[in-house]
Each structure stands twice: as structure tokens, then as C-alpha cells.
Amino acid sequence: MAADGTTRTEKFPSGILSVGLGEVERQVPLDEPPPLPPNAELAVIGKPAPRQDGRAKVTGATRFTVDTNLPGMLHGRILRATLPHAEIRAIDISAAARHPGVRTVLVLARPGDSATAVVRYFGAPVAAVAAVSMAAAEEALRLIRVDYKSLPFVVDMDKAREPAAPLVHDAASAPVGHPSGFPAPHGLPLNGNVRGPATDSRGDVAQGFAQADTVVEGEYRTQVQTHCCLEPHAIVADWRADGLTVHISTQFTAGVRHELAEAFGLPLNRVRVIVDGMGGGFGSKSTLGDYGRIAVGLSRQAHAPVCIILDRQEEQMTAGNRPGTWQRLRIGARRDGSLTAISLLSYGTAGVALGAGVGFVAQGLYDCPNFESAQHDVFINAGPGCAMRAPGNTPGAWGMEQAIDELAERLAIDPLALRDRIDSSPVRREERRIGAERIGWRRRHAPGADSGSVKRGIGVAQSYWMANVQINSSCEVRVMRDGAVEVLSSVQDIGTGTGTVMAQVVAEVLGLRPEEITVRIGDTDFPAGPPSYGSRATASITPPARTAAWRVLQLLFREAAFALNAASADLVAREGRILVRDQPARSMSFGEAASRLRTDRISAVASRSEDYGGYLRSMGDAALAKQYLGGVQFAEVAVDTETGIVRVERVVAVQDCGRPINPLQTESQVHGGILMGLSYALFEDRILDQLTGRMVNPNLEQYKLAGPCETPAIEVMLLENYQGNSATDAYGIAEPANIATAPAIGNAVYNAIGVRLRTLPMTPAVILAALGKIPSRS
């Protein structure tokens, strides 16, 4: 940003605290607050604060979408396809429509309509009803008669790649791009069921491999993982003549408002999207979804509010998943460890949708002049995949980080020493140092060195994730005449504690305590906030929250300045008081200053400005900051070579999220990332029946998940990493915390048993087969 009269030059703390802080000069817009000092010098930011909604959540008072009950509300249910691939020749809704409890029926798969008549996965929506009770709606679904013409189907990715495989899509129905861009941009070729390749390259890979002293090559597989949000996808749609109000369990209220306005031809100001309590999303609640559109359609037709809550089976089969992948990695290196070439080939499947790429780990994690990748999406007759916590990078790291360990062993270099050589990130260098000390890396023995039947091992893996920012993020801060303070935005809190960090940032500016700030979020009647995905909510909303609070404080200072007979510029807000700088005796309470306001309320709105140092890349409403979020995780495992059971005993996670705002909540989120990664590594697996195309474990007991008894001792360490990029310099943590866990466990398992596992999940059967104790299943 040029110094053009709209900015001023400021000096910001810069660097990693434990390494040593320097200063960086930045151009700051004139109407933004001065640089924030390091956390140690702050009263509220960087300190653990209890969640602002904690009391409501532990008493059951929080209203989640599923708890919404509007007068006259109807219950919607969706009739779903009972075949994985079929043309609907006829559908008879007359008996359902006559059911006394039914208010309206919607046919979604219309016979003869080329766009909708074919269903392509077991569970695809066919029709929907709205009735006076959930039970009546269920009864009505059973009265709908559907005449299916069964079509050939394929639910196995390898089979779907064969030339003679049944085609999941035709040219018209095959999706051409993916909103997340993983990896398929528009215009990629379609061959049979394969969309792609999406390619990326730099340097000369052939020459790079020719220069290599050694080449490691491996094929890695990852399974399909489902999100398993505890709160199911849910919506209450209320279509009225004067506009549409929607309560929806969503990660992006403002985005859903846009989707609704476009889908139903409404102006933005006639669409209101609300979410109060939000019971987890992990990527699966990023958009309106088919169920959302259906609920609105039913409400419009029935002239009544309609509630749709997916049941657990619908959740598991239709509401999104992390795509399964196959990856072949080749890595060439010189004897000293320096990389000469990386080649990545991948095929992944997101069912009937796109988005099965393996991300950017192979491209970006390590220094290597020569790189090539070819990533493919393979369609199968299964429910659509979607973004899930670090989409692409979590499966990608499973391959890449094991390949790097394999290379280290081949070169007889310690895995951490090799990473020190090929990883230029100062953040991860420091994280490796801290983590190695904490886990006791020096205890690590040679692979398979334990003599007993239970063998222990230690492993490490790293993560790589973009520092995403939503530029279209706004926030309002209000001060009332009685001293009450509110912070408002449409941003939602999906469990990460967004509301609490907003309260902390505002409290820091105003010299108040976070619990004195009322947080009003999750409603598009407030200024439009960012989505809670891409680990971007904190990075996007805390800078405008601080700026808005700072602006409103300047308004308050005007009143106080008069009363204190001082200049506004000489006032500071601290510990509930407004005082003259260096003359603490001349002061008044925050409330007294507020009581002097000439209007009942003053307010300021701020929007996310560009990063002070500029962006790596801007893409419409979103941008990538000029830094990456690094993390390093260490796992210690015990493998029982008689039973094949892997126990993760301990995980040490060293993570970077820029400036941590609330270390307590951040630690909680890292726990979640690790446990989801551990569960991915050892247990979770969506299993489709090859004969019927149906998911055989669409629940929460046969779909295996790590629980309390599988939870290891977890130690979380956070860097403080200051770059002077925004009014808060804060970034996210949700996704970075999830990427490294599975490969760290994989590398630890290798260290324990001396056999490398390349397929997830590492079930007892997989372990025993790898040890040659039982025949391999595939």
C-alpha cells in the first residue's frame, strides 16, 4: 500500500516471540487503530477467557437450529432414492397428498425432465413433504410410489476408472468446477468417470530426477471420512409475502443469504439468515444445501414455516464427506537431503461431486525446484463430498509426510534434521525445536527396535495451510448511554469461540472486561461477516472488531475530553475508566463517560481492510495472506503386534495462528483437530456395499470414531507469531491442527513396527496384514 495521504507509517512487532521479536514498518489506514503490542503487554487479548456463551451451553439454554419452533411450523421430510443409479419413470404422490397431516408435497426428481429424472446415488432426493408432525411426514413418505428404472452403477473408485465402467454422469450432468477449487477448475477434460487432470508444475522434473542420488516412491490411500457434526443439518424456512427468514445451522450466514436471494429471485434485504447455537460443521455446512432449498420450496408452497432436520442416516449418506484418495508420490533427493524433484499423481473421489484433490502439501511444504502434479476426480455413485477440515491437505499430508520420513531413512538422516534442511519456514523450524524437546525425540529408537509384542514408536509430521482472509467482513460496535457495549456481525460461532474473541478484542480497546461486552452475531440483519471455514473467521473479523471499537472510542473520548478538560488525543481507556494519559487522577468511569452521550447510542462500523503488507493473492471476497500457517505434531504410539491394535498414547502439537487471542479456546480447537486426525488415522471409514451401492454403516456406532477412551495425552504449544498484517495479526487454527496428526501417527507406527503403512485407516486387520500375520484383504 503506497503512502498516499490515506495511510500513516507505523512500526509493528515482528517475528516469533520465542525466537526474538523485531520491528516491521507498515502503512496503516488513517482510520485504523495503532499497532497492537505483543500479548504480554495486553490486558485481555492473549489471556484465557471463558466463552461468552458458556453458561447458556452448559445449562441447555442455547437455541440451536434444531430447537427452533415457530408458530404453525410444519415438519419436512425428504424421500430419498433407494437405488444408487436409476431413472425415475413415474412418481405417484396422490396418496401422500391425501394424508390428513400433509400440507404440501414437492416432486424433486421429475420423470421426463433430463435435468432431474436420473438419481445418481443411494439417498439422492426424490420428493419431499411438509406435514403437521414429523410422524405424519414419515407416514406420507411411505405413501409415495416411485417407479425406478435401475441403471448400472459403480461405487468403487478403481473400478470407476476402468474404460468399461458404468458412467455416473453424462456430459450435461457432470459437474465442471468446484466451489472450493480442489482441484478441478473449469474446463478440465472428462474421460469416462474421470475429470482431469488438473496439473501444476515448476522447473524440470525429468532433469530433477536425473540429478537425484536417490528416489523414493510410494502409493498412498485414504478412505472417505464423514463430518459427523453432532447437530444434524437443519433449517427452518419461513417464506412470507414480505420476505424470507431462514434459521439454518450454517457456517456462513451471509453466504446463505446470497444463495437464497439468487435461487428464489429475492433482493438481499428481503432475505434474513439466522443461526444462534451452531452444532458443528467442519466444512459440511458451508452452503445452503439441497435440503435447504427444499425447505424453502416447501414453505413457499405451504404458506407456513417448514423445518427440515436430517436424520443420522441422511447425514452419513448425503450431507457431505471428505473424499477418498489414491496418491502416487515420487521424490528425488541428493545425498545431503536437498530435494531435486517431486512428482505427484492422484485420483480421488467425491462421489457424484468434484473436489477430491490432495491439496498443496506436495507443492508447497518443502523447497524443491522441480515439481509436477496431475490430480484427477473420479465420479462414483455415492453421496457428494465437500470441504472437510483442511480439504486436500489432510489426505495429502498422509502421503507426503510419510514419503519424507522414508527419504530420511534412506539417506540415514534424522527426520527432523532432514526437515531442517528442506523446509525454509522459520515457523516450523521453531516448532520442531520446541516439539522435539517436549516429546523427548532423543528417546526415539530404530524402527521396530522394541523386543516385546507391544512395540512403541515416535513419529513427527508437519502441516501447511493458507492464511485465508475474507475481505468482505464487517462488524459494528455500539455503546449505549448506560455504558452497555455491543459487538454485532453476521459472523457465526460454530463452536470455535468466535464471539468470545470478538468480545476480547473489543474489551481490550475499551478498557473493559470481555464479559462486559454483549456479542450479537449469527444474523444477517447485522453487518455481513465472514464464513467459518478456511480457518478464516478470526483473521477476518477480529481486525474490523478492533477497528470499530477504536472508532467508537474516539466518539466517546470527545464527550469525556470535554468533561475532563483534556484533548481527546490525550485520553486512554483502561480498567473500566477513561483517563488522561500520564495523569491517572484525571479520570472518569467508562459508564460515566457514556452517560454524557447526547444520543442513546453511538456506533461505528468497520470492514476488514487489506493486510497492511498486502496479499499474496486476492480472489473476489477472499484473499491469501503473505504467510502460511505452520504446525508440527509428534505422536507416540504403542502397537500390539498380536492384536494389531494401535494406541496413540501421547500427542505434542506445536501450532501457529499468528497472534493467539484466547489460548484456552485455541487449545480446545487443537484438541479437536488432533482427535479428528487420530480418528481418521485409526478408525473412520465410510463403507459402501458393492452390490447395492448403499452405505452399510450410516450411523455413529458402526461408523467407528475415536472416543474418550482412545484420547491420548495431548500437549498443545502455541507460537506467538507477529507479522504486522492487520489490526490484530490473528489467524485461524482449525484446519492446521488437523493436517499433521494422521501422518505423525503413521510415522510413529513405522517407528514402532518397522513396516510402513500406506493405507488409511490403520485398523487391526491392516496392521496384522502388514506384519504378515493374516492375509491382506486387497
Binding site: 453432532l230 458443528g280 479437536g672
Partner: protein, 181 residues
């Protein structure tokens, strides 16, 4: 274990006529003691306790997440014992005292487990939290001095996708200490 006073067993007419006792499908009257208050209401015999609490009584703190006893989000107490309310019919409750998350605190005074959950950040999205609080509070009723393993065992039927288990364990241990102090 159906209580003798339950509506299911109370269909005396049906029993006298020689057939098995029949209830429903029409609503039948039942009396429930919930959080110390006696409520008489008409419920369809097919309704689970969780559905009645949430739907008819508006006690939405009890959550339904799997609806088949796999995740324990719907945990309430029956005479102090933690049970899945999605796994029993409302007409089976009989004379037993039902305690829900709304009835755990004493007025504005939080139960020590609730207070500790807030202090230790043993919640994230909060959807599974009421169930976890009920199980951890039940644990302290019969095991006032639990080990971490006791807490893990007590919540082993619960599922939390946000990964709050480590903080749930530390919170419950802290609550046990606070109760004794």
C-alpha cells in the same frame, strides 16, 4: 424395567379382555415428574422420552443427535441414573424422577460440573455438552473422588466431534475437588 405405574402397564381394560396390554396409537395420558415438577400430558405411546421433553415440554436442552443410543447427547437422569432418553418411550418412565439439563442447576447457582465446564472450556459447539454434563454430574453422585479413568469410562458412550474430551476430564476432576472443598 417398566415401572408398575407406567401407562403401558396401566391398560387394565385390555389386560382384562384377555389380550396383551395395548396403548395407542392415539395419545394416552401420562404423568411425568420432571425437574421436581409434576406434569400431566397426552403423549402418543410411540414417542420417546427425548421427543416428549423437546417437543411437548419445550425442554430443548436435551439433544437428539443419533436417535439410537450411540452418542449419548440425549442423556438425562432417571432417579439419578444417567440414561439415553432417545432409547426409552415416555410411557415407560412411570413414577421415576426425570432430571434434565435444565434442572441441574439450583436456581442461578450452577452445578459444580457446569461451572467447571465453563472454566476449563470443556465445550466447543456445545451440542453434546448437556449430555456430557449430565453424565459427569451423575458420576460425581456415586464416585465423589474419581480418577481420570473413571471420568473417561463415565463418558465413554458420548461422542463429541469438537474433541472436548481432555477438557471434560479435567473439568470433572476439578468439579469433584470443588464439591469436597
Amino acid at each position: 424395567m417398566i415401572d408398575a405405574t407406567s401407562a403401558l402397564m396401566g391398560q387394565a381394560e385390555a389386560a382384562e379382555s384377555g389380550g396383551p396390554p395395548v396403548a395407542g396409537p392415539a395419545p394416552v395420558p401420562i404423568t411425568l415428574k420432571i425437574n421436581g415438577i409434576t406434569r400431566t400430558l397426552q403423549v402418543e405411546p410411540r414417542m420417546t422420552l427425548a421427543e416428549v421433553l423437546r417437543g411437548l415440554l419445550g425442554l430443548t436442552g436435551t439433544k437428539i443427535a443419533c436417535n439410537r443410543g450411540a452418542c449419548s447427547a440425549c442423556t438425562v437422569w432417571l432417579d439419578g441414573v444417567a440414561v439415553c432418553s432417545c432409547m426409552m418411550l415416555a410411557i415407560e418412565v412411570g413414577a421415576r424422577n426425570v432430571t434434565t439439563i435444565e434442572g441441574l442447576a439450583s436456581g442461578s447457582q450452577l452445578h459444580p460440573v457446569q461451572a467447571a465446564f465453563i472454566e476449563h472450556d470443556a465445550l466447543q459447539c456445545g451440542f453434546c455438552t448437556p449430555g456430557l454434563v449430565m453424565s459427569c454430574a451423575a458420576l460425581l453422585e456415586h464416585t465423589p473422588d474419581p480418577t481420570p479413568g473413571d471420568v473417561q469410562a463415565a463418558i465413554s458412550g458420548h461422542f463429541c466431534r469438537c474433541g472436548t474430551y481432555p477438557h471434560v476430564v479435567s473439568a470433572t476432576l476439578a468439579a469433584a475437588k470443588a464439591r469436597k472443598a
